[in-house]
């Protein structure tokens, strides 16, 4: 089981490294979307500070959404997905591996980049820390839940738009507690409650979502 996980994660990361354009474009998308808001809303620091967590989290959601369609599409097209479905271990294990690899190549870079972008919003230090911790805890859930949408819309025309229509409503709890954590820090309430619920969402997502994704993949492979 673990060997399969290691193989899948190593393979996907190696592929991601060889096609860095995808990772970099998702990151720049994140940067651009976040930078648009001050231009739209105005440069007052006080207002931006209040908007910061919501804007960063929504941008993180959208950036993750960008890289989801390719999660299974290439493997579906060149036949490697079939081989994964035919390996002795349950398909959900391979899916968990791919979800992990997707997080490492999209969620994690976002999290590391967030403080830098946070500067634009003049966030206090402790808020930035909560933001980073929240993103680190929350983005795995985005990859796990997003994988379900990617599997359901595999091979469909207009899959990308449909994917976001299916997945964004399911992202709302993660958004609420992620952005809420930073709000709680700024207003001094302390973000432990938000972060622990966020962790619960991520663990629940990482544990249950692969089974739904595997089922959806088996349907797409029929």
């Amino acid at each position: 089981m673990i060997a399969l996980l290691k193989t899948v994660v190593a393979r996907d990361l190696r592929l991601a490294m060889r096609r860095q354009a995808d990772i970099v474009s998702a990151l720049f998308f994140f940067i651009i979307v976040v930078s648009l808001f001050p231009l739209g809303v105005g440069p007052e620091a006080e207002l931006l500070r209040r908007l910061a967590s919501g804007v960063l989290w929504v941008a993180a959601l959208l950036a993750t959404m960008l890289s989801l369609p390719r999660l299974f599409a290439d493997d579906f097209r060149d036949g490697t997905l079939e081989q994964m479905a035919l390996c002795p271990q349950p398909l959900a294990v391979a899916v968990f591996g791919k979800t992990l690899a997707h997080w490492l190549s999209s969620g994690l870079p976002l999290t590391l980049l967030a403080p830098l972008i946070g500067l634009q919003f003049d966030l206090p230090a402790d808020a930035v820390l909560t933001l980073v911790i929240g993103l680190a805890i929350g983005t795995p859930a985005l990859s796990a839940i997003g994988a379900i949408g990617a599997a359901l819309t595999l091979g469909l025309r207009g899959g990308g738009v449909l994917l976001s229509l299916l997945v964004l409503p399911l992202y709302i709890p993660v958004l609420i507690f992620g952005a809420g954590a930073v709000e709680a820090t700024i207003s001094g309430l302390g973000a432990e409650a938000n972060l622990s619920i966020l962790a619960a969402l991520s663990l629940g997502g990482l544990f249950f979502a692969p089974w739904a994704t595997a089922a959806a993949l088996r349907i797409a492979l029929e």
Binding site: L4, R19, D78, E82, L86
Partner: protein, 205 residues
């Protein structure tokens, strides 16, 4: 021993075939004939468990394959139309990854030996993107060189191969049958396999 009974396949609203059955014992090869679109690939995918049959049942060693699940898949090697290789990876990386995915231990030397056997010597570390269609097919076929699993299901293994390569693959299959393995394959050119009993199954009228 692989046994299929009363298999039926429906594609969209068209029924491709129905009442298809056969029995295949150790050391035997089933050659699947039929016009294009007769459902040969669908039947192969059913035997792998990828496509559920509209009716009928498939048994491996007397057990329905749905119940066996992972056990059945551990003894199955499927080679479809697609080469199942990643263009960005090298032949060596592809071979090692696909072996590990199916839970087999394959060290680098054996892998290199396999690649050499299929005539890819010198191209082991070149990204598959730069290989020709025939060479990519050889990367896919390299898996068969050291393949130990009992049941081989091959979809058009000889396509895009030159005559020498066709004989080579026929040799792999022959060796597999001699080891008591089973094979189901679809092909257009009739190819004599060195050993083992060949059964024929024609799909469609």
């Amino acid at each position: 021993m692989l046994e299929a009974s009363n298999l039926e396949c429906v594609r969209g609203e068209r029924r491709l075939f129905a009442g298809v059955g056969f029995r295949l014992d150790a050391g035997e090869l089933l050659s699947l004939q039929g016009a294009n679109g007769a459902g040969k690939t669908s039947l192969l995918r059913m035997l792998c468990g990828l496509t559920p049959p509209a009716a009928g049942e498939i048994r491996w060693r007397g057990q329905p394959i749905e119940k066996l699940g992972g056990e059945f898949r551990a003894e199955l090697c499927y080679l479809g139309h697609h080469n199942a290789i990643k263009e960005e990876l090298t032949p060596l990386e592809n071979l090692l990854t696909s072996a590990r995915l199916s839970g087999e231990t394959l060290d680098e030397d054996t892998a290199l030996d396999s690649l050499e056997t299929v005539g890819l010597a010198g191209r082991e570390d070149l990204a598959c993107r730069y290989l020709s269609q025939g060479q990519k097919r050889r990367v896919a076929l390299a898996r068969l060189v050291h393949e130990q699993r009992a049941l081989w299901i091959l979809d058009e293994p000889y396509v895009a191969l030159d005559v020498a390569a066709v004989d080579m693959v026929a040799g792999f299959i022959g060796a597999h049958l001699q080891r008591g393995g089973l094979a189901v394959l679809t092909t257009h050119q009739p190819v004599a396999v060195a050993a083992g009993k060949v059964r024929e199954l024609r799909l469609g009228h």
